[in-house]
Every structure is written in C-alpha cells, then in structure tokens.
Symmetry: D3
Subunit: 69 residues, 6 copies
C-alpha cells in the first residue's frame, strides 16, 4: 500500500529505465518492510532543468557553468 514519488530532472530517462526503477522500488518495499507489491504505487515526475534548483542555482545554469569549465 505504499506510495512513492520520485522526482528526477528531465534528461532522457527511457521507458525501460523507468520500468526498471518502478520494479526495483516495489521489490525493496516488499523485501525490507513486507509491503504487498500489488498495491504499491510509484509515480515518477520528470522536472525541467529550469525548474530544478540546487545550491541556489537552476540545474540549467549549473550545467552551462560545467560545460564552460
């Protein structure tokens, strides 16, 4: 019955990777806490890099700075 929300930057995760992530998180909750996989819900939010900040800057700005070295 757990509910899991995963937020990542939108940078090209494939449907296969997301399916693997859903499967993996669901099994972790079964193995560690005995939660029933049938009612475990996982949602993934892919967030534009303009809309994700860390260290006071957007990821867009950080990526541009990294590229400039």
């Amino acid at each position: 019955m757990p509910y899991v929300n995963i937020k990542i930057t939108r940078e090209g995760a494939t449907a296969e990777q997301k399916a693997t992530l859903i499967r993996g998180v669901t099994l972790l909750l079964r193995d560690i806490l005995g939660k029933n996989p049938e009612t475990t819900v996982v949602t993934i939010d892919e967030v534009d890099t303009d809309n994700w900040g860390i260290g006071g800057d957007s990821v867009t700005v950080r990526r541009a700075r990294e590229r400039q070295g």
Copy 2:
C-alpha cells in the same frame, strides 16, 4: 484553507471532468469538515502511463498485457 493534490494517469480527462472534480472535492471539504471553499486549493497532476507504476509494472506495460489478454 485545505490543499488537495490529485494524481491520475494522463488518459484524456476533459476540462469539464476536471472542473467537476475540483468542485466536488471542494464541497466535500466544506460539508464534512466545515472548510471554507474560497480558500480551498485543488491541483491535478496528470502522469504519463510510463511514469506510473502499480504492482511493480508501469501502467503502459499493464495496459499492453491486458490488450493481449
């Protein structure tokens, strides 16, 4: 003053259906808990079926399996 977030799979809910849902949830909170509709906020997230998992599989995979019988 309540805040409600509703997550559904993105499968064609219309603006009218979403408006009906917003109205309905707002009135429930007024009728059951006496909450003021004027400051009740409702947001709806429509999530791609690749990004929603239940039972360890994405909804995309489940839908494909159902179609195959």
Copy 3:
C-alpha cells in the same frame, strides 16, 4: 489507481470525518472519471497551525488576531 493527498490544519478532525472524506473522494473519482475504487489511495496530512501559512502569516497568528477582534 488515482492517488489523492489532502492537507488540512490539525484542528480536531475525527476518525469518522476522515473516513467519510476518504469514502467521498474515492466515489467522486469513480463517478466522474470512472476510476476503480479498489486501487484509489487517499492520504490525509494534518498540519500544525504553526506550520501552515496563508496571506503571509501562520494560521496560529491569524487565529490569535481573529480572537482579539
């Protein structure tokens, strides 16, 4: 399969009121969008009035101001 999160201030909602709210929201999603009640999940967060702000003030401060007239 929808997931609904309801945030309200912690001001004495009873278990019965919360059960009525869970039932009501689940039926709305069935009636408006055809969602399966069996896999509809609703969580309710009760938030201390110190931790809820509207109009730039915490609800604790607003309630105190209202009492003073």
Copy 4:
C-alpha cells in the same frame, strides 16, 4: 538539506524569474534556519490552469469570468 516544492499556474514564468525564485528561497532557508545552500533543493511545478482549482472553480473558469467582468 531542505527540500522545497513550489506550485504555480503555468502562465509564462521565465527561466530568469524561476532562477531568481530558486536563489531567493535557498537564501531564506540559510538566513532564517541556517540551512546549507549547497544541499538545498527547490523544484517548481507549473500547473495548467485547467488543473488548478480555488474556490471550487478551475483557474481557467475564473479567468474567463474575470474577463467578462
């Protein structure tokens, strides 16, 4: 280490405005609570006006009504 999620209606916020918002929230958390900016995460969700309700109506409906006076 704080995590902040900001939801606004999708009505044309620019990358510059969002970057300013990320910076401002991060510094508030440093100044008020002593939180380390390096590990402060901010995400911004821009929500379609059909999917945002207040006062029992979607923002789309409210905006239309305002325009009609």
Copy 5:
C-alpha cells in the same frame, strides 16, 4: 540530485529498516539512472492508519474488518 518521497502507514517500521530503505533507493537511482548518491534525498512519511484510505475505507477500518474475519 533526485528527490524521493515514500509514504507508508505508521505501523512500527524501525530505524534500521528505514535506513536500509534509504540506502536501497539511493543505490537503485545510481545503478539505473546514473544519479549521484551524494545529492540524492529520500524522505519517509509515516501516516496514521486513520489517515490512509484505500478502496474507499481507512486502513484502520480495513484492519478491524480483517481481524473479524
């Protein structure tokens, strides 16, 4: 840089189980999507069974019904 929120019912998960879950989710995101564990944040919300609904009933009610057979 991912952010993960896990909601479970409050039913006695230990600090060790929660630490194992945090570790496991962080490593999944590294292994599947190449995400940096150092900036991966995981929060766990434990929700009272009165405040969690599935199938239109609170978990409190469902547990009582199960005990009665």
Copy 6:
C-alpha cells in the same frame, strides 16, 4: 495562488522562525512573479532525522558519524 511545501529536518525550528519563513516565501512570490499574497499557501513539514536520507544514509546516522569525527 501559489502553493509551497517546505520540508526540513525536525531539529528545533521555532514558531517565530517558521513564521518568518512563511512571510519571506510569500513576499518572494509577490515580488518575483506578482503572485497575490492573500491566496499564497505555505506548508512546512518537519521530518524526523531517521526519516530523512541523503548520500544513502539517514541524517541520524550522518549526525552520529560527524560527532565521532
């Protein structure tokens, strides 16, 4: 009309600090995006250090390690 959710570890933030944070975030949204403070909602979740992970460890474990040098 924005909705902001702030998650911090539960480590003694005072009501005054939280009120200052609510005020500050509300004014940022007014100043940067022109949002109406009257309908801006801010909620603060204080999360136990056992329930917050970063870098694959709970904050409880990290704090213990830091104390040991």
